[in-house]
Symmetry: D3
């Protein structure tokens, strides 16, 4: 679905060009500049100045791209063909590391520019701060969005350190305040770990978010979680935001605020595969910090999660 004709350009052929060679784009797909337009654009957002603990997610987009070199075009398990639609790599946003608010503006502008060329944008972070400008841009296009937020943490805190409002711990409170979300259809999934106080969950619920917490995977399993998510979001235009720390540190050591007791990558993939049929508008996969990764374990998990989200886009009908 590029603008150079009917032909969709897929990944470089691994039978001709070895996987360790060739372009450094996601899945060795064409650059968006090369195809002009795409059905889904993958946008790198190398920003990590909003983190409270380990920085380094500025190198996340490059890591996720490196971790995607082994992907193949047919998802035999869901029968999705994610690259049958034109997917293209839009490169990186050039955003400053030195001012969070300036960077948020730059990301929002870059995302909006990308929407000129693709009906769907999937951001690869970068820290979770980037969800706010990505939601602003998506909401500008789709209206208030249902939110499926996979994360160990709520990310709806208010401020830090004497008033910092824009950080990786606050994007969804800001998004809620700004009216970017359809709060009847928004939820956190995979939340675990200790909270600051007994008020955290009630306050988050008061904002309107539902919660499928970290115990659910043991109690009810991945399929049931997927089904609950589908019920919440229904056929609303939906934004999926996945913080890689929803995975256990064993599966995602390369992240900024690791939290023991998380999902396996198999569970994460199973949940996302179970979302087939939702109306996926936009998405992000964030908080991959490769300086803490080993053998690309985190990057490969993230690249596969992006892949499964691309399959959901492929299964979303008629929204381009």
């Amino acid at each position: 679905m590029g603008d150079r004709g009917d032909k969709v350009i897929g990944p470089v052929d691994p039978m001709q060009v070895p996987r360790f060679a060739g372009p450094a784009t996601y899945a060795r797909l064409p650059a968006l500049d090369a195809v002009g337009k795409a059905q889904v654009a993958i946008l790198g957002v190398p920003f990590d100045s909003g983190v409270v603990y380990r920085p380094g997610a500025r190198f996340g987009p490059a890591a996720i791209r490196a971790g995607s070199r082994m992907l193949r075009p047919f998802n035999a398990w869901t029968e999705a063909e994610p690259f049958a639609q034109q997917v293209a790599d839009a490169g990186d946003v050039a955003c400053t590391p030195f001012s969070i608010e300036q960077a948020i503006g730059e990301i929002e502008a870059a995302a909006k520019a990308t929407y000129e060329r693709a009906p769907h944008v999937l951001a690869i972070g970068g820290d979770h701060t980037v969800a706010l400008p990505m939601l602003r841009a998506a909401s500008a296009r789709f209206g208030p969005l249902a939110l499926v937020h996979f994360d160990a943490h709520l990310d709806t805190w208010n401020t830090y350190f004497g008033g910092a409002r824009y950080t990786h711990g606050t994007p969804f409170r800001r998004a809620a305040e700004e009216g970017l979300l359809d709060l009847r259809r928004s939820l956190h999934v995979g939340t675990r770990g200790p909270q600051f106080s007994a008020q955290d969950l009630p306050e988050d619920a008061a904002l309107g978010f539902r919660l499928i917490d970290g115990r659910a995977i043991d109690d009810r399993g991945a399929a049931a979680i997927a089904s609950e998510i589908r019920e919440v979001v229904g056929q609303a235009q939906t934004y999926v935001s996945l913080d890689i720390d929803v995975l256990d540190p064993a599966f995602a050591p390369g992240t900024g605020t690791p939290e023991a007791g998380g999902w396996s990558s198999r569970e994460a993939i199973a949940v996302i595969r179970g979302l087939g049929g939702i109306r996926l508008a936009a998405a992000d996969v964030v908080e991959v910090a490769p300086a803490y990764d080993h053998a690309e374990v985190t990057a490969i998990a993230a690249a596969n999660i992006v892949y499964e989200l691309l399959c959901l886009f492929a299964m979303t009908k008629g929204d381009g």
Copy 2:
């Protein structure tokens, strides 16, 4: 519950002091010296001269403290508030690496001195040798203790290398011989991996220990295991000793005798959360060897396990 008045001093406020700054105590809690007395004292025991394979757990206390910087005060999942009781970091025992028996004496003395200032002591190791002097001190205070021993290994072997009786493979045989344990109420949990011979399990059983082996988590699940443990220990004063190698090497690479096929950190946390209501007298978390860790995966798991044990202390009524 410090001796400077009624006020419990909790962790440094992460909204004022970033988590990567501030004191290097467990959870950035006050030093025991600063508060004088505490309900639970966390005692570092940097001793690893009792190991048969990889040494390095002498750096374990520092690693667990580093891995605890992200903890928050409210356990939303059990509603425990572990820092509502005064928890304090008692620093490290100054024990020699050059003589196991001298070190055991030094640890026992330091533990007893700590009990002068706190009714409960949680040791962070160090190798499993340290369980013996910690049990001696705990037993001196509480009498023979029920034991919940989480570990890949039995640790009830007799001697090594021509007579070494005090090692990380023998603490619970010594403890049984010394009458420190209530053997009707003591058990190993998570044992897996090959044994030396067909006699190992029967000999261990002959000492009086029960066994919930590594298959149980698959067969019966974490909740059932917790329930079985609660039944065994009943309302006896109980010592929980957790060797981090009860986790799989994927979740705890940083340990001295890793054994394939272990628990996930989620399973370990679920089992410990299921122990609410036992009468926790004392505990240890041992065998974190950070030279083999990656991205603090092991240290974070151990710090969270300590946290869950602190929640159990908080849920133990009337024993201070």
Copy 3:
């Protein structure tokens, strides 16, 4: 069962020689040269020139041996005593890294020479290319073999890069073409990840292979998978080939083509333990690439899988 008399020589005694000392053979067992003959010979095949992505499995045999130093002789969970039969380490095949076809010939010759001294050979790789010559040698002895192929990938592709027929992605297609397999009794287990096209699975099935894919472990569990495998292979002479990437990258980071969403080491061990009673003729454990490993996590998992296969040999009656 060596040829120097009745006495089986087991591992070096860890109560006399510390585990970090002593010979660098698998499980510190005797060299095959030292015992002359054995019931099972472990043969290192340090070849990795057939890989499409990360090389390095040439160092795999040394890594698996290092990861085996902690093993003990009694499998309390299956009651197998793998070292009650004579197991010996046959050292490494001296195969060239510079020509895949020459190396395959060298491996086949070395395997056949090993069969002169042991009725069963277990190869430790090396990349999956080595399965082909190992199957040739095993088939020469046992006739066409049932195959249990644990792997994230099918490894039945045809050619790469303008005609390369012998690679780590093609051994089982070659083996099928060469008549080495009993295709009514052969199957892939643990296959996951995207495929090249919708034709991959049907083409593989057309070769005759059955498939227990990656979803089965969630849907039916390890015991059921083991039971299905036993049913497929029946009492045929069986070859088990295990690519360590059947494990998730969290459990096996040190491998050549890691694929998110795999088994845990506990699941792999449970499946293999469930195969007791099959007629195990020969086996391989491949694709351990230690340059990507951490803290020997992969090597220890592989060494334990080799151990469980040795237990299966011990439980296989009357085939020596």
Copy 4:
């Protein structure tokens, strides 16, 4: 020289408390709070939001402290006794990662508060941005300072990304503009690597800085460099700012903007030892980013450089 009497409190005795145990302060020295006043205060500045490439120096102070555990009190090579003067660890500045300008204010305030308790402050960073507030505080006390700036880079660029004036690439231009430096007595040492343009060096010289570039160590040796530095700074009150990237990446992999071709740690130590007799007012050692370090190589080098600077303070007479 603490305020509790005449007695200087030195490091914990390593013959009583093993080096892997005991407090996590620099060199296991007392906390400034414990001694009240000190001759030199070591102040952790865990700030890294000013970096253009790899972040992570926020964990630098903790790393340098960990790397200092092996230090001993007598410098046999210069006969300095750095701990004969009271040196104390002032802990970490609580500065926000979310606003560079707010953080600079917080650091300046904390530094000034520390000067209330110690005539000399040595900052351990943190990125090089922190040199600006440290210079402001030092200059408030000592007047305009001679500067000895060890670094691969000039750090006198003007702005980045549309106007960012306060970053780790600009502190000395800002310091020069603010009148904090005695520019007749200020120089860069160890500068190497490519520049942005032919104007960089002339522009820097126009600000007033002298330059001993990276070739000097080969051409003239460490002793001559030290002598040249001593000549430039004379007996002016001097600020030494050392970016760990003055070392080659082999000696300091754990840093934010590594530059090939640098000094060895032996050369750096030799140069600093050669500065005996300068009038050291204050200092910083910055840009240690432990996520990129290995085996504490960088941290140990940095801790030793801090030690040599403490020796220079000890050899500076009459300025307390």
Copy 5:
């Protein structure tokens, strides 16, 4: 000097696009496809099937590109402006890992195609096998070439393992045999480590190569070595081939056959800077194996060496 007009397109502006963002080309230069023609083309050759020890240099081109993100356009020390000439990244050769001879043919063809678009080609490897096809292509253009071969090893062995003629240990013997070299003007520099026999050096000399061995840097220094090299090659068209293992493993851990006692990166850079004025026709930098690298130490050193070679091209007059 691209074909789209007069304007040379340099690296992406780091004041607009942060260095961790933007294209993954060498130094963030334009792709050769984007500029059409260039003065120097950088060609990735991700081939490592010719190695005798550690494989992994197939990931070398990507690593060197990642290590080049910090480079700036002005070499203040030699006053060269390497990007004032059009330098462009020609991407990777698609060469098979499965047949050394096929790959050599593919590399030679790709190099020749690149020479259609650029008078000079600098290959980034890849193992040292790639020097042979690069020399074939360069020699086809320039005639027999003077060779400056920086390496710990001679790489003029004959065959391995029963006849392998094309490996990373043999390229310069093959090149000599094929008449690609001007042997009166060819030399090895930095050779060190043990040899196979007393014949190795004489045999190499008999082929015509001169030798500046590893002791020379201590005995005579970098400037003298550079001067000797310049004398040997004179004004002949010269090929520089640099195996990163000419550096000590401390400076280049990420390589295939590390050899203790090598150069520092500072020494290597000094020697290359000293070659200003030679007539550089073509070059390669090989044997970067990132799986063994740490914190990009090797990659950064290699990227800087490539940079210094680009400066030599810039200082070579009139050969385009």
Copy 6:
């Protein structure tokens, strides 16, 4: 010079058996058991219970062997042929980690048993504690020995932690007290780093040791140091003990008490090569702790140092 005839058995031929394959002995030499007798026996001493900081040297012998796989038989730079004499690997001493004094006895006994089969023994450690029993055994054979002690530290402290006399910080004081050394001909080389007090160096000198400290390499160079050493030891039977921490942590990160500012591996090799003509009786290379190593940098340096010592043995005439 084995007892099976005249033929010396050298390393496995790397042209037949790839270096990553074959036996795990030092340099792939024969086991001492296989050749019966040897001119030099290499004895692994996997003991590290005497360390004051980082343990792990128990894995040192295996690491040094792994790091020796690339060695070749001809030292072109000194013309020594170290394997022209029979060198054999005597395996590891089975010494307990649980009692320093028991282990010292076991090591002494094993060393003496080895001297029954070889006139020269070179120990690979293990921590520096092992020098004492090795000196006891060597002295029993050769009488009091001249000592060349390469180390960052003096290792002549007296006791630790209330009386520990046998540790890695005390072997040479014990050796001096026991009369094992010819103190007129003994010296420390490479000593650097801070001391405990101004008494350390005088006390050491009072024991009789001379000192070539860490500054000498800069002031006088490797050749002069070698010459000074040769003068001190003269033609006395000499023991060389090399602690790998004489190297800088950049060159030897994998060690127990790293000290900034050390030698490069090139300098160490140059000094040892300069010792040709001393009468080498025995030697050790100790303190390689591979858990802290990276890419075998330390192990390769140590293996090369062992190689250079073997060359010294080869150049020592008439002492077998």
